[in-house]
Structure formats: C-alpha cells, structure tokens
Amino acid sequence: MKTENQKAWFFVLPVLLLVAFNALIPMMTVVNYSVQETFGDNVFFWQGLDWFQQILRSDRFHAALGRQFMFTFLILIIEIPLGIAIALSMPRKGFWVPVCLVLMALPMLIPWNVVGAMWNIFTLPDIGLLGYVLNHVLGINYDMTQDPVAAWITIVTMDVWHWTSLVVLLSYAGLVSIPDAYYQAAKIDGASNWAVFRFIQLPKMKTVLTIAILLRFMDSFNIYTEPFVLTGGGPGNSTTLLSIDLVKIALGQFDLGPAAAMSLIYFAITLLVSWLFYTVMTKDDQN
C-alpha cells in the first residue's frame, strides 16, 4: 500500500510561517524601499536600481566599507591568536578551571551599550581611570574625541576585551576534548611543543575555530552599539563603520531608499564573506 498525497507540506508550514515573519517579510519591505523613492504620505516613485548605483559609486560608502574591513581585520587578527594563546595557557583540571571560565565569561555577559559607556568613561582624559593615567601620570596625549588613532585603539581594545573570551571558551572546549593519549603519544614520538600544537591541538580545534572565526567575523562586521556609544563614529568620520553610516543615512537624513539599498549591499557582503570563510576553512574535510 502506497499513499501519495501532498499532506507533507503542512508539516513544513510552521517553519515557513516563522521564517516568513522574522526574515522574509521584513526583508522584502527593505527591498521595496530600495527600488523606490518616497516623500512621505505613503507616496512612492519607482527608481529601479538607481539607489544601488548611487551607493556603490559613493565615496562615502567606499570609505565606510574600508573602515569596516579594517576594523574586522584587526579584530580577527588580534582576537583569534590571543584567544588560542589564552586557552592554551588555561589549566586543564583543578580548582582554577571554574575560576578561569567564570572570569573569561564575565565580559560577554555585559550588554553592548554598557560596554560602550564603560569604555567611554574609562578613557575620558580628565576623569576616566585609563585616560587620566595616560594623560596626567604617563604624559601621553590620549584623547579619543580628538585623535582618530586614539579612537581606533579604543574601539579595537574594547572589542578585544569584550569578545576574545568567546574565542577562548570555544578553543578551550576544543582543547579539553583531546584525549590524554595524544599528548602521551606525542611525548613518546619526541614531538616538540610546536609540533604538538601544530599537529594535535590545532587540528582538533579546527571545527570550533571555524565557528569562532565565523561568529567573530559576522559580529564585528555588523557591530553597531559599542562604537556608537563610545565614539558616535567620530572624531569626524574616522570610526564611522558601515552600520553607523547606515543608521545616519536612514534615521539621520531619512533617506530610506539609499539606506535600504545600502542594507541589502551590506547584507550581501556579509553573506559572501561568511560563505568564503566557511568554504575555505572546510575545504580539507571534503577531500
């Protein structure tokens, strides 16, 4: 007996509805804005791909995109090796394990805007602990509201402080899952510490590192709250990352059309780079 009907589709329906309401429909409204111009009163004029062309050709977008890639690059190049190094030096058993884990998890538990505010106050030249020590004790001229370099150092340091823990915890999880026998075998094989890292620890951490890199890429590429609270994109436009620029266009200038086009381009870039990362990092497993 073989029954053939289309009832199975009903089982897919809940998921379809869920995805429709939390992703597809909001996204389609953005698509809707991106091809039209509106002056309010719900009156729309068809624009075709004009907004996309305008955004893709604008220097302002190029500059923000450049800053965004620079920021993400710095974040990954610092947080991933640092996270691995911290995970490697954490104890594997005993009293200090939970202590380390809790300490590591703490920064991640603090809300984004609080992190931004904390670092803002922390680095104020006259009252912030770090700002005061740098300016008045060590005599280094440090003011992120005036100096773009100082502003960049501050947002990168803040992100490293906030999110390196994620890489640490993921790497640590990868490390503790390595059976003792591997280390014992390596000892007997006469492997150096570097060889142990290169041929045992790194390969075993690969899966979690792939996840860590993807998460840190997406998060840092889409970062908004912390730099917004910390520098507001300044001084000048020096820390205006893509998302900050996007909000300026959408809510500051109320240019909904260009903002919608920019969101879609932004989304496409994030998707593309994530896919590239994933493909490159998992290439070996397919062979």
Binding site: A181, Q184, K187, I188, S192, F199, K204
Partner: protein, 371 residues
C-alpha cells in the same frame, strides 16, 4: 632492545600513602628478558596500565626503580627512554598522510630523509599499508589507524620496548584476530621486547610467551599460558583464565583429607604447610566429569557452546561447572554425580596454591572421587 628490570616498584596516586590499599601498585619485582613477548593480564583497575605508564615514563613511581639493561631510567622522560607505546584508542595525526605519520618519530629525532624513507617503506611493507602511504590518515578505518600507530612505534630501529595498552579494544571482532596474528608476526620479525596489556585472556595467551597476571595492584602469577592454565598459583588466576574459569569450592580439612560437605575429595598430592586458613578446592571444568558415583549434584543449566557443552550443577549449595563432550548431554534438573580428575584437583589456602603434585598420581588415569 633491552632487558627490563623492575626493582621494588610501588606506586600510589595519593600524595602520602600509608596503608597498603593506598597503593595502586604493590611491591613489584620483575625481570623481562630482551626480545620477549609479555602480556600483562588482569581485570580493569588491577594496576596494569599504571605499571605500563611507569615503564614508558609517563608516570614516575612513588618508590623503586626501573632499569633498562641495568641502567636506571626511573627519572627519564618517555622520549629519552627510547620506548614505543600503542594506545587503546588509535592515536594518529589527522592532518598528515600515512607516510608522514610513520616518519614523524624519526623526523622529530632529526634523522635524514633517506633513512626516514627507508625505514618507513620497510615498516609499511611489514604492516601491509604500502598502498595507503599517500592517503590522509584521518580517513582510515580503525584497524588501519591502529596499524599506523603500531607502525610509529616500530619505525625506530632502536626501541628498547614496544608497549601495547589494550590495542584491540576498538577493532571489529573479525579484524581482531588478523591484527593479533600480525602483531605476533611482527614480534618475530623485529625481535623487540614487547609488553601487551589486556583484560582479554585470549589476546594475552595467544600473544605472549610469558603472561603476568595481576590483581589489585599485585602480581599473582607469572608463567607461560600453559602453566597458567595447568597450575594456577592463585584461585584468581584459575578463575580469571579459562572459559568458564576454574571451579573454586570451599572445603574442610580433616586429618589431611579434604571434604566438600561430607564428601571426601582426593587431591593431586601432599599439602604444604599446616593448612590453616580459608581452604578451597580448585578444579577446572575440563577435569570435572559426570559419573555414576561421586559428588551428588543437580544440573541447573546446560549450555552448548559448539565444541563442547558446559554443564552447570549445584552441589552442596555451590555452583560447579563441568565441560562434557556433548554426546550424552544431561538435561536441566537431572540428578548427577560429579567426578574430579585427581591430578588436576588442587587445594588452595587463603587463595594460594597449597598442594604439590604427587609424582605417582600425576600421570595416572583419572580417579573417581572416593565415596
């Protein structure tokens, strides 16, 4: 290759051991000759892996010494002892090819590539993995992975001892047998001292020339497989080796004669010592037969295991196994009489063998238990 001597070795995982039970390994004195094949046999937790890790240098003993060819290596780290170890779960370096895996121990020791190649090819040929040399090790089947980890141990031509820590645990049953004979063959070819740790009697008895049986951190008997089977020095050995193991039956001694309940049992020979302590009779199921007279018993279970039949009986409230040839099987509930072959019936006092074989009866025909 070396002679290995363990001298007054003791180990405890506790910082300040005081009682004997604090020791995972009680005092051990052993001599292992160069080129021998040894097995450490015992149940889980008997200390055999501890002993292995002490020999390999992964663990430093609390007391005592380990000597390789008379040289004290107790404090040396594993890489300076020149040993090889194969672990329970195959350890391979996933990102490397099979060739690089085999070459790894040599390259770490700075051998030139020509020597490396020669050794790797020789070992690969021995293990029959030559056609796999260029494949990534990650995708291999468990038995091939375990072969590669063995290969990494054997690739160095000067290893003092190769140790196997239950290496066949994760191998499919039908490949176990193949790998075991491969191992035996390897031993004959490379002539290295090999120590094989296992809780599986078949593995131990087929691999080793000498089996060291351990229980609760103590060596209870060292002997050839035949010796362990024929004259277990301790009831534990008798029970642990054999399938089913030796029957161990509490008995009483009255006037130099052993009795199970009211039934006298003839022993293989004279009793050493005064026989005070817990006395037990040990006789293997192979030497228990169903007879017309003898110890009355009731059959509680009959299992046909192929070559023969295991008959489980109850006599004097004790379970006794007998192995019969299967031509005249009793059925459950039958009342039978059990007869013990006299030259295989021994007395154990406090667990240890306490009879010496009588030269007259040793070669005689099986005798019935006296009525």
């Amino acid at each position: 290759m070396a002679k290995i001597t363990l001298s007054k070795l003791r180990h405890s995982y506790l910082p300040n051991p005081s009682r004997p039970s604090d020791y995972a390994l009680k005092e051990i004195d052993l001599d292992w000759t160069d080129g021998g094949a040894y097995a450490l046999l015992g149940p889980s937790g008997c200390g055999k892996s501890t002993l292995l890790n002490i020999i390999s240098g992964l663990l430093e003993p609390s007391e005592g010494q380990i000597l390789f060819d008379g040289k004290d290596v107790t404090k040396l780290p594993p890489d300076q002892r020149n040993i090889a170890q194969v672990f329970q779960f195959p350890v391979i370096y996933d990102t490397m090819t099979v060739y690089d895996n085999l070459a790894f121990p040599l390259r770490n020791r700075g051998r030139d590539e020509a020597t490396v190649k020669e050794r790797v090819m020789a070992i690969a040929e021995m293990l029959e993995v030559t056609d796999l040399l260029d494949t990534r090790a990650a995708g291999l089947s468990p038995d091939n992975k375990q072969k590669i980890s063995m290969g990494r141990g054997l690739v160095r031509e000067d290893v003092n001892v190769v140790m196997f820590d239950e290496p066949l645990t994760v191998i499919d049953p039908h490949l176990k047998w193949k790998l075991r004979s491969k191992l035996k063959e390897l031993h004959q070819r490379v002539k290295a001292t090999m120590i094989y740790v296992t809780h599986d009697q078949t593995e131990a008895l087929t691999f080793a020339d000498q089996v060291v049986v351990m229980q609760l951190g103590e060596v209870v008997q060292i002997g050839t497989p035949v010796e362990l089977f024929d004259r277990p020095a301790h009831t534990f050995v008798g029970h642990f080796i054999g399938s089913p193991g030796m029957n161990v039956l509490p008995c009483e001694l009255r006037g130099g004669q052993a009795y199970i309940g009211a039934h006298p049992v003839a022993l293989e020979g004279a009793i050493r010592g005064d026989g005070t302590g817990t006395t037990e009779i040990g006789v293997r199921p192979e030497f228990v037969s169903l007879a017309t007279n003898g110890l009355p018993a009731q059959v509680t279970k009959v299992s046909d295991v192929g070559r023969h039949t295991v008959v489980e009986c109850l006599a004097e409230g004790r379970r006794i196994n007998a192995i019969v040839d299967g031509s005249h099987n009793p059925t459950k509930g039958d009342a039978v009489h059990l007869s013990f072959q006299q030259d295989q019936t021994r007395l154990y006092v406090d667990g240890w063998l306490a009879t010496t074989p009588d030269t007259q009866t040793a070669k005689s025909e099986p005798m019935e238990v006296a009525q």
